[in-house]
C-alpha cells in the first residue's frame, strides 16, 4: 500500500504545532496501524542525511487492546474507523491504497499535548484519586463469599469495569466531556454491595474533581459510546445521574457527619 500521512508534530507542550506530510510505500495490509508508524519512524531514523532526526512520539504499550495507552485521532475518529477497537488492534487493511490519513492527538483542555501525538491523561488519575475506589485497607476483610452479589449486577459492574481509561470518550465528545469515564467507575462500584457503602460520597467527589479539571459538560450526544473501544454504554451515565441526584437530596444529612472519601 502507498500512503500519505498528515501527522501533527509539536516539539513540546509549549511549542506551536503543525502538520507534517509523510509518504510511505510498501505497507502490508496485515500491518497494524502502530506498526505502520513504527515503519515510518524507522524510515525517519534511517534517513542517511539528517541527524539528529526526531521520531514521531506516540503513546502505546500492550498492543493488544487492553492497557489503554494508545491514543490517536485518525481521520476524525478516536482509534480510527473500526468500531470497538483500539488503534493497536486496527489494521491497515481497513484503509485503501493511496489513502491520505490525518493523525492528530486527543484534543481536550485537560489533556495537554506533551509531544506530537502524545497527551497527558493524568487528569483521569486525579479523578480516580478523588474517589474511584472502595476505602478498604489491606487485610481485615470478610471471606469473599460472605456477601452474595446478584449475577446480573456483577455482570453489569463488569461491563462498566471494562473501561481501559484511554480517553477516547473525551476525544470524541464535542464538549470534551469525561462523563463516560467517570460514570463507568461510579457505576461499577455503585452496582456492588462493596461499593455501595460510600457511593454517595464517591459520586460527589468524582464529579467535583471532573468539573474542577475543566472537562466539558455532557450533552448526551453519545459519541463517547460509539467510539469507546470497550463498548461501554451511556446507560452508565444515566446511572451516575441517578446516583448523583439521590446523593444530592441527602446532602444536608451528610454534612453533619464529617469524613467521606478523600
Amino acid at each position: 500500500m502507498k500512503l500519505t500521512l498528515k501527522i501533527w508534530r509539536q516539539e513540546n507542550a509549549k511549542a506551536k504545532g503543525r502538520f507534517e506530510t509523510y509518504k510511505l510505500d510498501h505497507i502490508s495490509p496485515d500491518c497494524s496501524f502502530l506498526e505502520m508508524l513504527d515503519i515510518l519512524n524507522e524510515q525517519l531514523v534511517n534517513d542517511p542525511i539528517q541527524l539528529p532526526v526526531d521520531t514521531i512520539a506516540f503513546d502505546h504499550d500492550c498492543r493488544e487492546g487492553i492497557c489503554g495507552m494508545c491514543s490517536l485521532y485518525i481521520n476524525g475518529r478516536p482509534h480510527g474507523p473500526e468500531q470497538g477497537t483500539t488503534v493497536c488492534q486496527l489494521h491497515m487493511r481497513r484503509f485503501n491504497d493511496g489513502d491520505t490519513i490525518t493523525i492528530e492527538p486527543w484534543r481536550a483542555g485537560p489533556f495537554p499535548v506533551i509531544k506530537d501525538l502524545m497527551v497527558d491523561r493524568h487528569a483521569f488519575d486525579k479523578i480516580i484519586q478523588a474517589g474511584g475506589f472502595t476505602s478498604v485497607s489491606t487485610g481485615g476483610v470478610p471471606d469473599a463469599n460472605a456477601i452474595p452479589v446478584r449475577k446480573e449486577d456483577a455482570d453489569l459492574a463488569m461491563d462498566a469495569a471494562a473501561c481501559i481509561g484511554c480517553g477516547a470518550c473525551v476525544a470524541s465528545c464535542k464538549n470534551a466531556s469525561a462523563m463516560l469515564f467517570v460514570a463507568a467507575k461510579v457505576s461499577q462500584l455503585a452496582l456492588l454491595p462493596q461499593g455501595k457503602v460510600e457511593a454517595r460520597e464517591r459520586v460527589h467527589a468524582m464529579v467535583a474533581k471532573m468539573d474542577e479539571l475543566g472537562f466539558g459538560n455532557c450533552t448526551n450526544t453519545y459519541a463517547c459510546e460509539a467510539e469507546c473501544p470497550k463498548n461501554i454504554s451511556v446507560e452508565n451515565i444515566a446511572r451516575m445521574n441517578r446516583e448523583y441526584f439521590s446523593a444530592s437530596l441527602t446532602k444536608a444529612e451528610r454534612k453533619q457527619s464529617s469524613g467521606g472519601v478523600g
Binding site: Y73, S172, V207, A223, E235, N241
Partner: protein
C-alpha cells in the same frame, strides 16, 4: 443568580436544563393545540381559538404558570449558554478533521445554534403578540379589540397572509424541530432515565412528538401559503 448557576456542578446544571426543557416541551403541546384552531379544522374554529386565548390570558392559574414558564425559559437559555461556553473552553485547540463519530441525533451537535434560532423566533413572536397584549406595541390593522380582549386570531391571519413571514416562520420552526429531536430523549438521560427496554420507547415518543409539533406548527403557514 448567574453566579450560583455557574457554581453548580455540571450534573446539577443538567438536571435544571432537563426539568426546564421538559416543562417547555409540555407547554409547546398546549400552544400547538390552540394554534391549530387558526386553521378551519372545525366549523367554529375561530370561536374556539378565541375562547382558548381568552382562557390562557385571563385564568389566574395560567398567569402563575406564565411566570414559571418565563423562568424556565430563561433558566434553560442561560444554562444553555453557560454550558456551551464551558464546553468550548474544554477544547481550546480543535481538530483539523471534523469529528465523524456516530451520535444519537445529528442535531445534537447544533443545540446552541438551534437554541439561538428559537431565541430569535421568540423575539419576533413576542413583538408580534405578547407585547401587544402588554400594550407595549400596537396591534396591526384589522385586529380589533373584542370585549377588551385582543384579537389574536386576526393578528395571526394578518401575519400569515404575508408570504415572507410564513416562510420565515417555517424556517424557524424547523430550527425548533431540530432542537427538540435531540432534546426530548436527552432530558430523560440527564435525569438518569435510561433503560434497555424503555429508552427506545422514550426515543420513539420523542421522535413522534418532534414530528407532530414541527409539522403541526408548520401546517399553519403552509396552509396560508398554499391557500
Amino acid at each position: 443568580m448567574s453566579k450560583t448557576v455557574v457554581k453548580l456542578s455540571s450534573l446539577s446544571k443538567k438536571y435544571l436544563m432537563a426539568f426546564a426543557g421538559l416543562f417547555l416541551v409540555s407547554f409547546l403541546l398546549v400552544h400547538l393545540g390552540i394554534n391549530l384552531f387558526i386553521l378551519p379544522i372545525a366549523p367554529d374554529h375561530e370561536a374556539i381559538f378565541g375562547e382558548a386565548v381568552h382562557f390562557m390570558t385571563t385564568n389566574p392559574l395560567i398567569k402563575i404558570m406564565e411566570v414559571v414558564l418565563f423562568g424556565g425559559f430563561i433558566l434553560h437559555a442561560v444554562l444553555g449558554v453557560i454550558l456551551q461556553l464551558q464546553n468550548w473552553k474544554a477544547r481550546p485547540v480543535g481538530y483539523a478533521v471534523a469529528q465523524k463519530s456516530k451520535v444519537y441525533s445529528p442535531f445534537s451537535r447544533y443545540m446552541i445554534h438551534t437554541g439561538i434560532i428559537i431565541f430569535i423566533f421568540l423575539a419576533i413572536h413576542f413583538m408580534n403578540f405578547y407585547f401587544v397584549k402588554l400594550g407595549w406595541s400596537v396591534a396591526p390593522e384589522g385586529a380589533h379589540t373584542v370585549n377588551g380582549n385582543h384579537d389574536f386570531y386576526h393578528m395571526a391571519l394578518n401575519l400569515f397572509s404575508n408570504p415572507f413571514y410564513s416562510v420565515l416562520y417555517i424556517v424557524l420552526i424547523l430550527g425548533l424541530g431540530f432542537h427538540l429531536h435531540h432534546a426530548f430523549q436527552s432530558a430523560f438521560q440527564s435525569l438518569g432515565i435510561n433503560h434497555p427496554t424503555y429508552t427506545p420507547v422514550i426515543q420513539a415518543i420523542g421522535t413522534v412528538y418532534t414530528v407532530v409539533v414541527t409539522l403541526g406548527f408548520m401546517s399553519i403557514p403552509l396552509y396560508f401559503l398554499l391557500a
